[in-house]
C-alpha cells in the first residue's frame, strides 16, 4: 500500500503532463474571455490568460492598483517602477488607458463593473465557495490583498487551478476546509484535467482535457460531479450557462 501511495503521489505530482499544462489551462480559459470584456487577472497562471485571448478580440485589463488598459511587460526603456500591476510587476499602459486611485479602482470592482476575474484557488466547494488566501495555519501571516473584493464584486469569477494539491489531495470539495475568500462566488473552474461549471444542481464537468476520462477526474475530486460533457458535445459550448448560474447565485 505504501508503495502504491507513493506511486499515486508521483502520478499526481506529474498530473500536468497527463492533462493540460499551465499554458494550456490559460489558453483554455482565454477562449471564454469575450470581445470587449473588462478583465482582472490574478497572480500566477491567471496572468497568462491575456496572451491566449483569440486574435481579433479586444479586451481591456484592469489592475486593482489603479489602471484600466494594462498592456504587456515593458521593454527596458519603458520600465517605470511607478507603473506596476497588482502583483507588483512592471507593466505598460495601452493607448486609451486610464489611471485612478484605489477608491475608484475598487468602486469598479465592488460596483459590478468588471466583467471577468480569473483567480487561483486552494479549494473550491460544490456551491462555488472559494478559499484562496489562507490555510488557516496558526503560524501563517495572514494576507488577503484584493481577493475578497474581487470575488464579491466582479460579475463572473473564473478559477484556474491544478485539480489536486501537490500531495494529491482534492481541491474541489463538498465544503472548503480552509477559511473562505467568498461564498457562492465561483462560476467556472479550469483545471489541468477539465472544465467545471458551478450550477444550481452542483458541479457540472463540461469538458475534459485530451486523454482524461470522467472517472479519472471524479476519482480526484472531493464531491460528486455531474457529467455534462455529452450535452455540451451535442449542442456545443454554451457560455450563457455561466451567466445564468451567476445570476441565481448573486
Amino acid at each position: 500500500m505504501s508503495t502504491l501511495a507513493t506511486s499515486n503521489q508521483h502520478a499526481n505530482s506529474q498530473v500536468a503532463q497527463v492533462g493540460w499544462n499551465r499554458e494550456q489551462m490559460a489558453h483554455r480559459c482565454a477562449q471564454d474571455i469575450e470581445e470587449g470584456s473588462y478583465v482582472n487577472l490574478g497572480i500566477g497562471i491567471p496572468e497568462k490568460v491575456a496572451q491566449y485571448v483569440p486574435d481579433g478580440r479586444e479586451v481591456i485589463y484592469h489592475t486593482e492598483n489603479g489602471l484600466l488598459g494594462m498592456g504587456n511587460s515593458p521593454s527596458a526603456d519603458e520600465l517605470d517602477p511607478d507603473l506596476i500591476n497588482a502583483g507588483k510587476k512592471p507593466v505598460t499602459a495601452i493607448p486609451g488607458a486610464a489611471y485612478f486611485h484605489h477608491g475608484d479602482s475598487f468602486a469598479m470592482i465592488r460596483g459590478n463593473h468588471i466583467d471577468v476575474c480569473v483567480l487561483g484557488a486552494m479549494q473550491v466547494s460544490e456551491k462555488g465557495d472559494l478559499a484562496n488566501w489562507s490555510t488557516g495555519a496558526a503560524d501563517a501571516i495572514p494576507a488577503v490583498g484584493g481577493a475578497m473584493d474581487l470575488v464579491a464584486g466582479v460579475k463572473t469569477i473564473y478559477i484556474i487551478t491544478q485539480h489536486t494539491t501537490k500531495t494529491g489531495d482534492a481541491k474541489i470539495l463538498a465544503e472548503c476546509s480552509f477559511p473562505l475568500t467568498g461564498q457562492k462566488v465561483v462560476n467556472r473552474i479550469y483545471t489541468d484535467l477539465c472544465v467545471i461549471d458551478v450550477t444550481n444542481k452542483g458541479l457540472a464537468l463540461i469538458e475534459l482535457a485530451p486523454g482524461i476520462s470522467f472517472d479519472y477526474v471524479q476519482a480526484r475530486t472531493g464531491v460528486e460531479l455531474l457529467n455534462a460533457t455529452e450535452q455540451l458535445d451535442a449542442k456545443g459550448f454554451d457560455n450563457s450557462s455561466v451567466n445564468s448560474s451567476r445570476e441565481v447565485q448573486s
Binding site: G66, D80, A143, A152, G153
Partner: protein, 245 residues
C-alpha cells in the same frame, strides 16, 4: 499668502506624536514616500498605528520604520511581500499587532473616513473570517457587512507635481492610495518630485485638490525602494548614525 511648502522633511513630520495614526501612501514601492518615512524614523515618534497596503520591503522605508520599533499596529491588506523581512519576524514574536483588511474595504474605509462617512455596507468578506464579529445586514436579498470609516492624524504621500496651494498630480500607478489618504488625514504631508507655479497644473487635471494637503517638500530625486533593497541598504535613524560616527 498661502504657502504650504516647508523647508525639510524633518519640519514636515515634526508634529507627529507618539500614538498617532499615520497613513502612508504606496502600493509596494510605487508611491512610497521614502524620504518622509525616513524623516519619521529620525523623528522617532513611537507607538504608531500605520495604515499601508503592505509592510514595506528590505530594511528601508516602511520596513525600517517598523524595524525601528515605532509601529505598534499595522492596518493593511497584504503584509507578506517579496523582500518582506521585518514585519513577519516581529509579528510571529507578538511584537506588532495586525489588523488585516481586504484591499478594497481598506480603500473604501479610508475614502469614507475622508468623506465624513462613519460606516458603510459592503459585500466584501461576507462569510469569511474577516467579517466575524461585524454587523451583517441584508439588502434586497444579499448580505453585506458593516465597515467603519478610517481616519488618521497624518498622511505621508508622494506626488509628481504640486503647487503652493497643495494641488497634486501623481505618476501612473503610484497614485494608488494617496488621494484618499490625503482626504482621511487631519494633516497631510506630501513629498513631490516637482513644485510648479499656481496654474502649472490645469484645474481640470488636479487629482488631489489643495484643501486636502498641509505641508509639501520638494524631493526632486527621490530614492527608489527597490534600488535601496537591491543595494542592501539599511536605514538607521540619524541619531544612531551619529552615535556610530
Amino acid at each position: 499668502m498661502i504657502n504650504k511648502i516647508v523647508a525639510s522633511c524633518a519640519t514636515a513630520v515634526a508634529n507627529i506624536k507618539d500614538g498617532d495614526t499615520v497613513m502612508i501612501g504606496g502600493f509596494g514601492e510605487a508611491g512610497s514616500p521614502v524620504e518622509l518615512i525616513h524623516a519619521l524614523i529620525d523623528h522617532g515618534a513611537k507607538n504608531l498605528t500605520v495604515v499601508n497596503n503592505n509592510t514595506g520591503s528590505g530594511r528601508v522605508g516602511l520596513a525600517a520604520l517598523i524595524e525601528n520599533g515605532q509601529v505598534a499596529k499595522m492596518i493593511c491588506s497584504y503584509p507578506r511581500t517579496a523582500n518582506s523581512l521585518v514585519f513577519p519576524e516581529l509579528y510571529r514574536s507578538g511584537k506588532i499587532e495586525l489588523e488585516l483588511v481586504p484591499q478594497g474595504t481598506l480603500a473604501e474605509r479610508i475614502r469614507a473616513g475622508g468623506a465624513g462617512i462613519p460606516a458603510f455596507f459592503t459585500k466584501t468578506s461576507v462569510g469569511t473570517p474577516l467579517a466575524e464579529g461585524k454587523e451583517i445586514r441584508n439588502f434586497e436579498g444579499d448580505d453585506y457587512v458593516m465597515e467603519r470609516g478610517l481616519k488618521a492624524d497624518f498622511a505621508l504621500i508622494k506626488a509628481k507635481q504640486a503647487d503652493r496651494y497643495g494641488n497634486l498630480t501623481f505618476n501612473k500607478t503610484a497614485r494608488n492610495f494617496a488621494p484618499i489618504m490625503a482626504m482621511a488625514a487631519t494633516t497631510t504631508l506630501v513629498q513631490t518630485n516637482e513644485m510648479v507655479e499656481l496654474g502649472g497644473i490645469d484645474p481640470e487635471n488636479v487629482v488631489t485638490p489643495g484643501i486636502f494637503v498641509n505641508s509639501i517638500i520638494e524631493i526632486t530625486q527621490p530614492q527608489q525602494e527597490s534600488q535601496l533593497v537591491k543595494n542592501g541598504v539599511v536605514y538607521l535613524p540619524i541619531k544612531s548614525q551619529g552615535a556610530k560616527a
